[in-house]
């Protein structure tokens, strides 16, 4: 009850402000807009450019930035009370997309991008790479524009692979061999692979294992695909890597712990987000900066389908200044701005950025070049579904994560876990 109290006040205040702002005049691409953002590298990178936008368009921008969870809570409470408190907001479609779209929180953007006046040729809408753009569509409707992309990749120690003559894994099963050789050759000093075990964080890195077996999260009839032998095989492979060749306590690890282990030279490979590059080549915290290589997660019997995750910005359906909001959206995702941001390390969802010769020149080290190539591959081939689709993402991820954690802990077998996930996901969709 204690936690609820502030939200009641916020609700009342927002409801009040909604009535007041409801008296506002006709909207036009001027005036002021509020942008709700998360504390995120993208926000830090774009902030210095905002005065340029204000000068160009005469639209004032109030950028409000909060921690990820706080921003999510705030957006939910605000949108739920149909308030126009903010006009543009950062949103993770793979997480809250379906819920927000079905609740009518997003302004549909198809009309905007199809209108040559609103999205002129210079905006180059077709320049967005397929996977991140697809990720901004919910049930066929475009509800946001991508701003940054990431995906799970493998960071590995080139020196160890060279020293012990370990062949880079060519298919997903060879990961186990590579991990075993690292661990055996170093006498257990270096773990084979640092991998995610924390329940809600796990599906993001588990996805490629699942998809590379040749299965989608859902079967064609919309039921979960965990009743297939391939799914048990994927779980078994992932759990074996984590249990046998992962660090102790792996079930509580996410990117922070994995990157710390890798950067301290205690893991031969790290399977985590491409965003972790900065952590593992940071001279202040990493002792392995000269030995890092980056490669995609290798293919399985069903091909290679990395997970791609994009952040996007969306317009609130309750915005009172949608034209100005669109101007901002268009400016922030324009080819020029994405290139500017790329120089600050923001992985662009636009193909043109990666082809830009000036940008390519900044990839002056082999590791950065490998990173860019891997990320490009992720964007081209990526599957934007981080976890089995459904409205209740946190619960879905917990179901998948907990079941696999039980296999890692040795409490259940992969087959039992697959059955459990199938049953619980089925219950979930049945109750909705």
């Amino acid at each position: 009850m204690r936690v609820k109290y502030p939200s009641i006040i916020i609700g009342v205040v927002l409801a009040g402000s909604m009535i007041l702002t409801g008296c506002g005049g006709e909207s036009s691409p001027s005036g002021s807009i509020t942008v709700l953002a998360q504390h995120h590298p993208w926000t830090t990178a774009i902030e210095p450019y905002i005065p340029e936008f204000e000068e160009e368009t005469g639209i004032d921008v109030d950028l409000q930035s909060f921690s990820e969870e706080q921003a999510r809570d705030k957006s939910l409470v605000t949108l739920q009370s149909r308030s126009s408190e903010f006009d543009v907001f950062m949103s993770l479609k793979s997480r809250e997309g379906l819920l927000y779209a079905q609740s009518g929180f997003y302004e549909p953007l198809d009309e905007y991008v199809d209108d040559p006046e609103l999205a002129p040729e210079s905006y180059r809408f077709e320049d967005f790479q397929a996977s991140p753009l697809e990720g901004e569509r919910v049930e066929g409707q475009l509800v946001g524009l991508p701003i940054i992309v990431e995906g799970p990749v493998i960071f590995y120690r080139k020196d160890l692979f060279g020293e012990y003559d370990i062949a880079p894994p060519e298919d997903i099963f060879e990961l186990v061999d590579a991990a075993r050789q690292i661990q055996e050759n170093t006498g257990g000093d270096v773990y084979g692979v640092a991998i995610r075990g924390l329940n809600t964080a796990l599906p993001y890195t588990f996805g490629p294992f699942f998809h590379n077996m040749g299965i989608e999260w859902l079967a064609e009839d919309g039921s979960p695909n965990f009743d297939t032998p391939e799914s048990a095989e994927a779980i078994d492979l992932y759990a074996t890597l984590a249990r046998e060749y992962g660090p102790p306590g792996v079930v509580s690890n996410s990117f922070t712990q994995s990157s710390a282990l890798f950067a301290q030279g205690r893991a031969g490979m790290e399977i985590d987000s491409s965003n972790e590059l900065q952590s593992v080549i940071d001279p202040e915290s990493s002792s392995v900066i000269d030995d890092v290589g980056v490669m995609p997660i290798p293919p399985g019997p069903g091909g290679n389908h990395p997970t791609v995750l994009q952040w996007g910005i969306s317009t609130s359906a309750f915005s009172e200044n949608k034209d100005a909001a669109w101007e901002f959206m268009k400016w922030a995702t324009s080819p020029e701005m994405q290139l500017n941001l790329a120089f600050d390390g923001i992985a662009s969802p636009r193909a043109s950025t990666w082809e830009d010769s000036e940008f390519r020149e900044t990839l002056d080290e082999p590791v950065k070049e490998e990173w860019a190539d891997t990320l490009n591959f992720v964007q081209e081939e990526g599957n934007p579904e981080v976890a089995p689709p459904g409205e209740d993402q946190p619960r879905i991820r917990e179901i998948v994560g907990n079941a696999i954690d039980n296999v890692i802990l040795g409490e259940t077998t992969a087959e039992e876990a697959a059955e459990e996930i199938q049953r619980e996901l089925g219950n979930l969709s049945g109750s909705e």
Binding site: L76, G197, N199, P248, G249, L409
Partner: protein, 321 residues
Amino acid sequence: MHTNPTRRSQTAKEETGGEDTVSRRPYHQIVARLKKNMPRYLMLGPALLLAALLIVFPVAYAVYLSVSDWSPTGVKDTFVGLSNFERLLQDGLFWNALRVTLTLYFVSLIVETVLGTYLAFLLNREVPGNKIFRALILIPSITAPVAISMMWLLLYDPTLGMANYLLRLAGFTGLEWLGDPGLVVYSLAIVDIWEWTPFMGLIILAGLKDLPADPLEAADIDGATPLQKLWHVYLPLLRPIILVAILLRSVDLLRFFDTIYVMTQGGPVNASTTLNIFAYRQGFQYFDLSYASTAMLALLVVVAIIASCIMILRRRFSYEV
């Protein structure tokens, strides 16, 4: 030593008798009495209003939510009766959360009380610098819990953390402090014990300083050993203040949230999911505020039961003194 039952029932009789007389009084006498007491009511008014706003309203709203079907797009106009409570009682995760909450509660509370009492005796000794020490040991209790949790997260890291380094140095094998479902609750209890034992110690110290000298002198004259003095004189005399300290810690411990939220988020596989974490997840991650309210009402009941038990104990022991 015990209260005289006859005296108690007499007092009770007088009180009810008094009320009977009031209700039989003519109307104008009641008005006169109201007028006489008006300043009292006026002065109490704001406090009562504030209490109503801060306590009654949220609880009432939680009750309302628990019997309705809330969704992110607003409360659907449906009264669902007690179905949320029914669901809660059948929910294995709820019972697991209750078990985790109570384990964490009893383990932390018992150790904190024993160590806190011991600490109070230590701090009571007049040695040079003990005032500085008294201030210093409060640091864990006044540091932000999130900062403490981050620090312990580093200490507990199985590979890079200090805890396992020390264990290995002493010839033991390292532990998976937060990764072992059987161990995680105790690892969290250690953090709480480290954080809150000084607080218990200082409360008990205040009681220790206020103890009457006579019983102690009498014990000395009777030739009691230090252990006998502790068991038969100090502890009975300290019981009321220890119970106050226990009450204060109990309410906080049962709502244990921030440390877990930062360190394990309730994992691995719900092994450290307390009722608070359970309700948080239902409300703010699954957006099921109705079910979360139901769980929180259950926690309210648990807190009320435990607090009442402590109050009853306290009353009994304070009569004995």
